[in-house]
Amino acid sequence: MLRLLRRTLTILFLLPASVMAQGLEDLVTSLPDGDFDDRAQVVNAIALSGDPRALNVLELLSDGQLSYLREDGRIVTVRDEGDDDVAYDVLSEERIGVVGRRDARDVRVNNGLRRDIAAAIGRMGLQNVDPAVRLDAAERAFRARDPEQIDALRAALAAETDPEVTTVFEQALAAAVLRSDAGEADKRIAIAALAARGDRDALSALSPALTDPVLAGEAQAATDKIERSIASWGLAQNLWYGISLGSVLMLAAIGLAITFGVMGVINMAHGELVMIGAYTTYLVQETIRNSFPEMFGWSLAIAVPLAFVTAGAVGVAIERGVVRYLYGRPLETLLATWGISLILQQAVRSIFGPNNREVGNPEWMSGAVDIGQMAMTWNRIWILVFALAVFAALMLVLKRTPIGLQMRAVTQNRAMAASVGIRTGWVDAMTFGLGAGVAGLAGVALSQIDNVSPNLGQSYIVDSFMVVVFGGAGNLWGAFAGAFSLGIANKFMEPWVGAVLAKILILVAIILFIQKRPRGLFALKGRAVDS
């Protein structure tokens, strides 16, 4: 409150007399002085300077891009040019030269100052000719909820022609009015405007009115209405979270559904095959970043086939090198593949280092889309689409291609298949390779939501087995149903009991379920059944 008051006084009295008279150059040079409150005053002065370069300076400051030279205090931006860091004067764009770690210091910004800058930029944009800029400015003003902006907002509102922007201006005005000591009538209108907006931000903007003795009833009614609508949307939101978790589980588990489910091989190295897919994505992105930066949006599309081939090749090598000697001996297979998983992990650790590798989200996978009160993040939507596509493709391969036919034949009756001339050894290798390749595909998707580190696979192996065992070994539909029901059950439990207990409860439920139906949801006759 004190800070606000001080700032108000500054803007009202101090600025016109002293700061306003200064040019942008002087203001910018004084940025590093004093503490964050002092800097906030300079920011306001820069915003009011009317200089066309002011917006750029404020944006750079907000992004933490401004530094000052230790030598002469000049304000610069430091850009990364190959191996060198090069300083440019922020206003004249003059190239000053290469600077080392010790030569330049950052002009410090914190969240509070960044909020002030955002509000200042918002004020500058209120009367901009571009409706998109005005919309952005209106959203900023809505968040700022600054009673001092009421006059500026009213002026902007009066001049506004775009209906969408007008609505947001009204809401911004409403949020500011509720914080001010405006009259009862104005506040009534404000409450109505916020109730119409009806989201969480509106709830938060409404909260000052809840303590107002005259308006508390109306504000409470508006709040209750918004809360009811949020609660019903919450159900849909939970369902979406469950589906999205299910899609991740299915991607991780579907490769295992082939190796474990169809072939009956307990492949403990499954997680590491996922990891290999993720590292392939990393390598692809790294190559693109270094050589073809404009192709970054395509990086995942390129990584998908490569990850399938790489992980598939490793899978075939594992099957031909180790697993084929151990058919029919599940315990030894388990131990051997577990050993392989450790070898793969440590190999990746030795080659790429133990640290997380940076895998970026392409533009089209960042951000969220709002449907009513529900937010769906783009990366989750695309992963769901990808998971369904992988599932469909896999079904197609198994049901509609000759190799799929041979795989099913070998699974159902190895001796018979062999006697009609199917090379069962080759089919084994291909099946295992297919499962491994699909695990690699999962790695591409998981690199978008999880750490790409040598430990990536470990965190998914237990979940994958859970899905396959629950869904029923030997059936892809089992993995499908298992993954989505576990995902949805988990997400509906999480808000009530917390993430830790939800996981435990799911595990207990599966154990109980397996007691009743040892073969899972969809039991199928297969090699695992025969043995």
């Binding site: 933490g64 969240n111 960044r114 938060s204 640290n355 940076e358 939501i449 999880d450 580190s453 430990n455």
Partner: protein, 433 residues
């Protein structure tokens, strides 16, 4: 603010160096080497954090040998790999002390690994320097804690959020194990003592490696949209952080809306991360790579030269080892021997320069004094320091905010020589440990 001019600081450092190491002449160390054990995981889950600490120890030992060794004798590093396996830590520690007969051990990261080696160090009477911030509630004669206790990290960070960001509601989010649970217990008690209402504190635990943060992030958003300024205090363990921050970014929650202050996220953890959506989120440590002192720039230059990679970063536990190692060298030089009991006594009161422009001292409770810094994440994976304590903060082994440890103090000097002295009953061994 403790801002010396840099010239004065350089002069100060120069004087202490010449006092601390009279044998700074070019004499090559000779005689039987003094062995130093390094007990950090080089494989398994924790390799991500601990490998760096092994490397920094090797660098410090190499530099010390170049400067004449200790007591005129060379130092020899004995590196073992406990492979992120807690019982194996105890075995390897036993090997270091019994077979290799090392004079001191620098090691461990997780609290559970420290707990597993404690009995070994007690039984065989060794010295362990533990460089990581931890939950406190412990003080052992054989262990020197150079990382932060909760009052050197968590509590100042909360103070910053209240003072600078005006935070009134709190989400305490952590991974479900001992460090977050104890830290959150202390923080909850602290917040309640400041008059924060119980319903304005939300506590949430997640399993290790949690990667699906959708529900929790939307809960946090809901909790934060009730009109009071909200912050998240995160004790989420390293690996689960990346998906957590990503989800925050994707759901459009920026640091200006709901800042997250983390105690386990440092430069090393950010190295594998696109930090653009994280800008403005906070971390509290006793050291940041961006600390603006000549001592720090020298340390960074040495590190980059030693490791041969321009892009490597430095972090807080590395500085803790730097401080701990220099304290040990100074204590051995002062005692004139590597005898464990003598060195343990001689370590208390040792004062060495830290990298943030001050001096850290070993306290009688085997914790050290450090400044507390709060930094905001930048888009280059570094931290911009937005706040620091005006002086040094002494590590408190037993939190004053927990009822069962408020009466306990630790003082390993004679005649008390006790790690958990109960001031109310006047007896040693006041609490379960």
């Amino acid at each position: 603010m403790m801002k010396f001019s840099s010239a004065a600081k350089a002069a100060l450092c120069a004087t202490t160096l010449s006092i601390a190491a009279p044998a700074f002449a070019q004499d090559a160390p000779s005689g039987e080497p003094i062995k130093v054990g390094i007990l950090h995981s080089l494989s398994g889950t924790m390799a991500i954090s601990e490998t760096t600490l092994k490397d920094v120890m090797l660098m410090l030992i190499e530099r010390q040998n170049a400067a004449g060794g200790v007591l005129g004798r060379p130092l020899e590093a004995v590196v073992v790999d406990p492979a992120s396996d807690w019982p194996l830590f105890a075995e390897r520690a036993r090997e270091l002390l019994e077979v290799e007969e090392v004079s001191a051990v620098f090691g461990n990261w997780t609290s559970v690994s420290r707990k597993s080696v404690l009995p070994v160090f007690e039984e065989l009477n060794g010295i362990l320097f533990y460089p990581v911030q931890y939950e406190g509630e412990e003080s052992q004669r054989n262990v020197f804690y150079t990382g932060a206790a909760p009052n050197q990290q968590a509590i100042p960070a909360v103070d910053y959020l209240i003072a600078e960001e005006g935070i009134e509601r709190w989400v305490l989010a952590g991974t479900d194990y001992v460090y977050p649970r104890t830290t959150n217990r202390i923080l909850e008690a602290y917040l309640l003592s400041l008059g924060v209402a119980q319903e304005d504190i939300m506590v949430n635990y997640t399993p290790f490696g949690h990667s699906d943060w959708q529900t929790i992030v939307s809960d946090i958003a809901a909790f934060g949209s009730e009109g009071m300024k909200t912050a998240v205090v995160s004790t989420i363990n390293g690996d689960a952080n990346v998906p957590f921050y990503r989800e925050l970014g994707n759901q459009g929650i920026s640091a200006e809306d709901i800042p997250v202050v983390a105690f386990s996220v440092g430069e090393e953890e950010l190295a594998g991360l696109d930090t653009a959506p994280l800008v403005g989120h906070l971390a509290a440590w006793n050291y940041f790579m961006s600390v603006d002192t000549d001592a720090n720039y020298d340390f960074i230059d040495d590190w980059i030269e030693f490791i041969g990679d321009e892009d490597r970063v430095t972090n807080d536990p590395m500085e803790a080892h730097y401080i701990g190692f220099n304290m040990w060298v100074q204590a051995v030089e002062a005692a004139g021997t590597t005898d464990v009991d003598t060195v343990i006594d001689s370590l208390i009161g040792q004062t060495v320069p830290n990298l943030s422009g001050g001096y850290s001292a070993m306290m009688p409770n085997h914790h050290i004094t450090k400044p507390v810094l709060v930094g905001e994440i930048q888009d280059d994976g570094q931290f911009s320091i937005v706040w620091e304590t005006s002086g040094l903060v002494a590590g408190d082994a037993w939190s004053d905010y927990l009822p069962d440890s408020a009466n306990l103090i630790s003082d390993w000097r004679a005649p008390m020589s006790c790690g958990n002295f109960n001031v109310e009953t006047g007896t040693c061994g006041g609490a379960a440990e």
